[in-house]
């Protein structure tokens, strides 16, 4: 399955991926409207590490299973959202075992990576080459 692969050792946590994702999807400056989320997590005396949350386009996606209207569906191995069918029940957000579907307070549909149709913006922009597209 195609998906975005994250290399935590290269990442710097700059969130340029989040910024460009929101721009590509909505044309806005708003890193919270991104379909990929990077967090830098730390413990008291270390370690510090960068984590990425982004759809893995699972072979057997739980989000698709729980979606009551068929808004989430699989097309050519990619999980896709049909916004017209979405009733904003957020079942998918809770069902995703990787916490990779997001709810934004101002949007009535979930944020889930669609790989930008095969040429993901985040991968193109990442200055550290921490993101790549696995075919």
């Amino acid at each position: 399955m195609p998906r975005i692969v994250f290399n935590p050792a290269s990442c710097s946590g700059c969130k340029i991926c989040q910024q460009v994702c929101a721009y590509k999807a909505f044309g806005v400056q708003n890193l919270s409207k991104s379909k990929i989320v990077i967090n830098t997590v730390f413990k008291e005396e270390g370690p510090v590490f960068h984590k990425a949350y982004v759809c893995r386009h699972c072979e057997d996606p739980q989000c698709v299973k729980v979606c009551p209207t068929g808004a989430l569906h699989v097309e050519d191995g990619i999980v896709k959202l049909d916004r017209d069918k979405c009733i904003a029940c957020w079942s998918c957000v809770n069902a995703c075992p990787y916490n990779a579907i997001f709810r934004h307070p101002e949007l009535n549909f979930p944020l889930i990576c669609d790989l930008c149709g095969g040429d993901p913006e985040c991968v193109k922009w990442c200055p550290m080459n921490a993101l790549s597209l696995q075919e």
């Binding site: 050792a9 710097s12 946590g13 700059c14 969130k15 340029i16 910024q19 460009v20 721009y23 044309g27 806005v28 400056q29 708003n30 890193l31 919270s32 409207k33 989320v37 967090n39 830098t40 997590v41 730390f42 413990k43 008291e44 005396e45 270390g46 370690p47 510090v48 590490f49 960068h50 934004h104 307070p105 101002e106 922009w125 200055p127 550290m128």
Partner: protein, 622 residues
């Protein structure tokens, strides 16, 4: 008619911790255009609203967190805020910038800045979202380290927040307490953390989700893309992302400016052990960047033997001040000290300087074992240094005095202590020895917050131009640096390093400003704003000090009187007449009088007639 179409939100959040009132103030358009943001907003608000002579640690002092029109956007390294207040360390204008996700989160909550006054009855923290601000209980966090507190706040609010946190240093009003965020980032050297503590304010948390309005998003994205491509194509890029500012240790050693033994020398025999190369080879385990930064400088490093597996984020200033300046040539120990300082929320530069000062005072008999709880202080003595650091933050024995900063400590100790108290205007000198760099000494002397390098990192330029050169051109260049670094970057409130380190052209910033705000600015106009901000910061100091003297703009006596004994510049001191000449050039070029007071003409040219009017009640303006 200028129309603002984005970049700014046009709103300031006002919080009074005494009566817990919260208000939103709409910003006047002219104010935004005249002061831009960050330091510009901060100094104007403090000038207008603080009565002369306010005790910096009283409820009347105001604490300002300010962004600028490019902050948080798709602009290189834009994740910064300015923290400002009347400084408890210097008694003058104090500010510092810090890389934090709170920058974007504040703007995504709808605010350009926060102004906090009053004092909470119990420990509190402020939680800000687009739904408004809340003052929340922080008794469970009081007493805890800054890193620990940050972690607990994330457990409470999730990871998608921005934070500003203080540690025990701020709570105990250590005069150089700073604000900490995201494990290893610090800001607010002139005691902004102590101002938090004096208000019983443990932290500020912001969680935003609104769009930040931008006039021309497509253009902004284009400029960002080009900037990233440019930065990544630069010859120095690989070295920068592998060492960040840490390559400077070796550079400073080679140029005899690495502060060593309380600025006695500019070279350190064990420099390699604490160098960027050693760090990259043996200690660095992760890189970390601020928001929107394509050239991350964060060096998360891990101790190897002593304090094994302890992590800390290293950069040049903290390693030099906790390394060579106190005679430590062991990176593990530097990591330990740096980690403790971050948990305590105290400034690494000032604490390193206070420790070095104490060691020199001990060697000269000005303090004794009675003051140090029996510790025999010496350079490189790890055990006594670690204990002394603890005494400072716990304000025990001599530590209580050292927590006041080296200026106050020297005044109390008397004798010749003032000669080796390495500060200007009460702010400890950051990590460049200037025995053989009079221009850099001037940069420290006239820095608008006390001795810090952020306004004019003049040293590399001075070395290229010639250390011995005493000319108007030299000082013109210094002022240009102040305009760009202390003026443009501190008001736009984005990081200066893309321009400094990798040569991103200044011309790109007015273009980004136009894309963000829709307003045309030329670089010349931004320089004028920078000069306005400098005149206003100066006016603030003069009002507080009740006048001005040239000596306030002088570095400490050690650089004039005690020559270097090691390295290629052995024998060098700064000649007083040379420093004085450079200072006179500086005043002339700024149109300040021979005592460093801006003239009426300087105020008029920068649109500060009202400031001149008020200041003329205190001093005579020429």
């Amino acid at each position: 008619m200028v129309e603002i179409k984005g970049g700014w939100l046009g709103k300031i959040l006002r919080i009074n911790l005494s009566d817990e009132s919260i208000a939103v103030q709409k910003l006047d358009k002219d104010f935004m255009l005249k002061y831009i943001g960050g330091r510009g907003f901060a100094v104007r608000i403090l000038w207008d609203e603080l009565p002369r002579g306010v005790d910096p640690l009283s409820p009347e002092n105001k604490l300002i967190v300010a962004t600028g029109p490019l902050t948080g956007l798709l602009v290189p390294s834009s994740g910064k805020v300015v923290l400002a207040s009347k400084s408890p360390l210097t008694g003058g204008y104090g500010d510092g910038n810090i890389g934090t996700h709170l920058s974007a989160m504040l703007k995504m909550s709808g605010f350009d800045a926060i102004v906090i006054e009053g004092k909470a009855d119990k420990p509190k923290y402020i939680y800000i979202t687009p739904n408004g601000a809340e003052i929340r209980d922080a008794e469970h966090l009081w007493g805890k380290g800054a890193i620990t507190t940050d972690i607990e706040l994330r457990h409470e609010h999730g990871e998608n927040i921005g934070t500003l946190v203080i540690g025990p240093g701020g709570e105990r009003l250590v005069k150089y307490a700073v604000v900490i965020t995201e494990f290893g980032r610090a800001g607010g050297r002139p005691g902004i953390g102590a101002v938090f503590g004096s208000k019983n304010l443990k932290a500020i948390v912001a969680e935003g989700w609104m769009d930040i309005p931008v006039a021309d998003m497509d253009e902004l994205v284009k400029l960002m893309k080009k900037s990233i491509e440019f930065l990544k194509s630069r010859k120095g890029y690989e070295l920068w992302v592998s060492q960040g500012t840490m390559f400077t240790i070796q550079w400073s050693q080679e140029n005899s400016v690495l502060p060593t033994f309380n600025f006695d020398e500019g070279v350190f025999d064990e420099y390699w052990n604490i160098s960027g190369e050693a760090m990259a080879k043996m200690y660095k385990v992760l890189r970390k960047g601020c928001l929107s930064c394509p050239m991350p400088c964060g060096n998360l490093s891990r101790a190897r033997e002593k304090f094994k597996n302890l992590w800390s984020e290293l950069d040049y200033e903290n390693v030099a001040m906790f390394g060579s300046n106190i005679g430590i040539g062991d990176m593990d120990v530097v990591i330990r000290l740096n980690y403790l300082a971050d948990q305590w929320g105290v400034d690494t530069i000032s604490m390193g300087s206070a420790i070095a000062f104490a060691i020199e005072a001990f060697k000269k008999g000005l303090i004794t074992e009675k003051d140090t709880e029996g510790l025999k202080l010496d350079f490189g003595n790890v055990e006594s240094i670690l204990k002394l650091a603890e005494m400072i933050v716990e304000r025990r024995s001599i530590g209580d005095l050292l927590a006041e900063g080296v200026k106050t400590a020297a005044e109390k100790l008397g004798g010749e202590a003032y000669k080796f108290a390495m500060h200007v205007k009460g702010l400890e000198i950051s990590a460049y020895d200037c025995h053989a760099a009079p221009g850099m000494a001037l940069a420290y002397g006239v820095s608008p917050i006390g001795a810090h390098h952020k306004d004019a990192w003049f040293i590399s330029w001075e070395i290229k131009m010639g250390r011995e050169v005493v000319s108007r051109e030299k000082v013109e260049k210094l002022i240009l640096m102040q305009r760009i670094r202390g003026g443009i970057f501190e008001t736009l409130t984005v990081c200066r390093l893309p321009w400094i380190e990798l040569g991103l052209e200044m011309e790109v910033y007015p273009r980004m400003l136009k894309a963000a705000t829709g307003v045309d600015f030329t670089l010349e106009q931004l320089y004028l704003i920078a000069d306005r901000v400098y005149n206003l910061m100066r006016a603030f100091w003069i009002r507080e000090y009740g006048g001005w003297k040239r000596e306030y703009d002088y570095p400490p006596a050690k650089w004039f009187e005690k020559p270097l004994t090691k390295g290629p510049f052995a024998g060098w001191t700064i000649k007083r007449e040379i420093y004085d000449k450079l200072l006179s050039y500086y005043y002339e070029l700024r149109k300040w009088d021979e005592n460093g007071i801006p003239t009426r003409e300087a105020f008029r040219e920068t649109g500060l007639e009202d400031v001149a009017e008020e200041l003329s009640k205190i001093v005579e303006l020429k």
